[in-house]
Symmetry: C2
Subunit: 416 residues, 2 copies
């Protein structure tokens, strides 16, 4: 239908016109005033404690202790179960979070401003690898690291970013795609490019040299540091494309470890929800699929803007890490994602595909017609609370989300 084609062109125009700039880091309570006491934001569509998976519950308990709402994990879990903690999706507050996606008042959030449209989006700082809250970790080591992010890294990075005038992300991503990143499971290039831009500003703003060395070593020692920046960018880019009447383009994909949810431009903020699937991937030594929690996190926002699984051809080295075949298979993922998207990004191109743009603007109609579900590169959490990451893989968005969306869009447009 012509109204849909036009609406989709407008949606993609807004995605491509965006000018995302990382401008600040500040406490969540300051950036999101409505984020109240005993309110906790999580990844994915809405979910109550009763239906939360193991790692999400582990992270919630840890976050409750971190905020001082309970003295220990046991008390925290009892508090959460009692209904005294309000659970809300990050997406409803302009935010996103990887894996469990915990966002609470005292946590520092990075701010990406879309300078073309004036909107802002938020994401917490990446904690590094190993036992971390985003994978359900919640012990003293995890909380101590979060305290360091809150007390040291967050304020320092905020000051450096404000002094720098902001880091433009569009050209940074363009370079990263020519350097083997797909910005979901591989962010080593963008992390390094980000560090080299911010390092002089950190040198000017952090007076304690040992503290400065720690900050530089933390960012430089964490290849996935940029993931959370890419996520905030994805949210900042997609928000202006919401609620375009008639558009069948996906504006958000996210998972809470139990449900997968998508939003479509033409149906506003309605969630279309289905059970999450299990990633196909590779497990760290000592772990197997029997330990794995199904798909989780707001990070699929990067696939929503054409990165991650959609940009796999840019990152042949990631294919081995996520167990998706040989390097030659990388291009196959990107090409098949072209079949369910409405455009190629003219500024984000892939050298090995002779500079074809990343496939962008998932059309729910094309997903249903072709039977090709979006491919998402993802980390895999242990299904029990408190353990952490056990592997990485590729997962598909459940087809049922897209069939529901097509039906809802058809009803809204008066098509039978």
């Amino acid at each position: 239908m012509r109204i849909i084609e036009e609406a989709n062109r407008e949606a993609v125009r807004r995605l491509f016109d965006g000018d995302p700039v990382l401008v600040d880091v500040a406490p969540a309570a300051e950036l999101i005033p409505s984020l109240g006491e005993r309110m906790l934001l999580h990844a994915g569509p809405p979910i109550a404690w009763e239906r939360m998976c193991g790692p999400m519950r582990g992270a919630v308990a840890g976050a409750v202790v971190f905020e001082g709402w309970a003295p220990d994990l046991e008390a925290a879990e009892a508090l959460a179960r009692s209904g005294a903690v309000a659970f809300r999706p990050n997406h409803d507050f302009g935010a996103v979070g990887p894996m469990t996606g915990m966002t609470t008042r005292s946590m520092p959030l990075m701010v990406v401003e879309n300078r073309r449209f004036g909107n802002r989006a938020y994401c917490a700082l990446n904690e590094g690898l190993g036992k971390v809250m985003r994978f359900g970790g919640n012990d003293a080591e995890v909380l101590a690291r979060l305290a360091w992010l809150r007390d040291v890294l967050g304020p320092a990075l905020g000051e450096a970013l404000r002094a720098s005038g902001g880091i433009a992300l569009k050209p940074l991503i363009a370079r990263g795609l020519a350097m083997g990143d797909e910005m979901h499971q591989r962010n080593v290039a963008c992390t390094s490019l980000f560090l080299r831009q911010i390092a002089p500003w950190l040198a000017r703003t952090v007076s304690d040299r040992e503290r400065l060395a720690d900050i530089l070593a933390f960012i430089g020692g964490n290849d996935q540091f940029f993931l959370n920046i890419a996520m905030a960018m994805g949210k900042a880019l997609t928000d202006p494309a919401r609620s375009i009447e008639g558009s069948s383009v996906v504006t958000a994909m996210c998972r809470n470890g139990t449900d997968f949810g998508i939003r479509v431009s033409g149906t506003g903020d309605t969630w279309f929800v289905a059970p999450v699937e299990m990633p196909q991937g590779l497990y760290f030594p000592g772990f197997s699929e029997a330990d794995a929690n199904p798909d989780m996190g707001d990070s699929a926002i990067v696939e929503t803007v054409g990165l991650g699984g959609f940009a796999m051809a840019a990152a042949p080295a990631v294919v081995g890490f996520v167990g998706a075949g040989s390097a030659a298979d990388a291009a196959v993922f990107t090409r098949s994602m072209s079949e369910i998207t409405v455009a190629e990004n003219p500024e984000w191109t892939i050298p090995s595909l002779d500079f074809a743009g990343v496939p962008t603007g998932i059309d729910v109609r094309l997903v249903v017609e072709t039977g090709i579900a979006p491919a998402i590169n993802t980390g895999i959490a242990h299904k029990k609370p408190g353990i952490g990451q056990v592997g990485a893989g590729v997962v598909r968005a459940p087809m049922a989300c897209f069939t529901q969306a097509v039906r809802a869009l058809a009803e809204r447009l008066g098509v039978t």
Copy 2:
């Protein structure tokens, strides 16, 4: 012949067994005590003032002023012409230098130690882009930058490297190849990876914050900073493979802007020399091949160890920069270099070729038999002194060097 095959296996074994570590930066006079007053090291095989090309003469004049041997460029040129300055190749002093390759007493040199074999190699610090001495620049701006390298960056980087215990280069190159670098005309990944490793050490050792910020910005703002590190590494890797009786493997390729010279393991330090060729490439706006000086620099040492033009498949984005066709042509360069080399590096692999190793160990016999000359990615200098870089391209090593080498080797082995 069996003796040649065995000798070549040994040569390549030494190349692959090397463990190059960037350990220090110190003044050339300290590292190379035989580098006397009014002695100047240059790129390529030996050459006298009379046969030097324009940019080499320009750089010599600048270096003479920089060392204080003459008060201005005119007097410097007169001094050089008078025979009062001794010109010697970098290669004879364990050193290498890009393009004109100036090395004089007061210049800070980076030190790469090959920990497997105990040898060391040196290269000056990269000056950045634009008007620089390596491209024949010699004005006040060029000399002021060299003074900053001597007085600020060199000592700071030396102290940071000593504190760090050294930066292992083999794994860094391996990562860089998965991030689109070929380490000759594209070093953005390795420069960024190097910066993130050294930044915390710089933070600990440089007490002045504004100075620290300048240093971080200089390294981070110069995508080619790593080139000179890769060159010193190439020299440190190839030196142990010199003088293996019977080996037909190339141990050095270099150019002084007039002559191209190669050394072959089985013939020791003999230079096989032929006139340099003109790169085929792309020119910066306002320049053309009419402005170009032919091929120059010791940087072809990176091709000698399997990088640069030999690793083009790792760097599809560089193909456009050097005007060597479309991204798809990148793999063609690497595959054709496989035809003139005796091995693939098991640790330096190229994701897009399903992790095939970079072709390594140029066999002069294969070059002559196939008629395929080594391909070198190179910068292009203006042919007049004092101007600087005008483009980048791909150049071939002259076949005559290889036919001479085959003949000399055959004579030495008593083959007719």
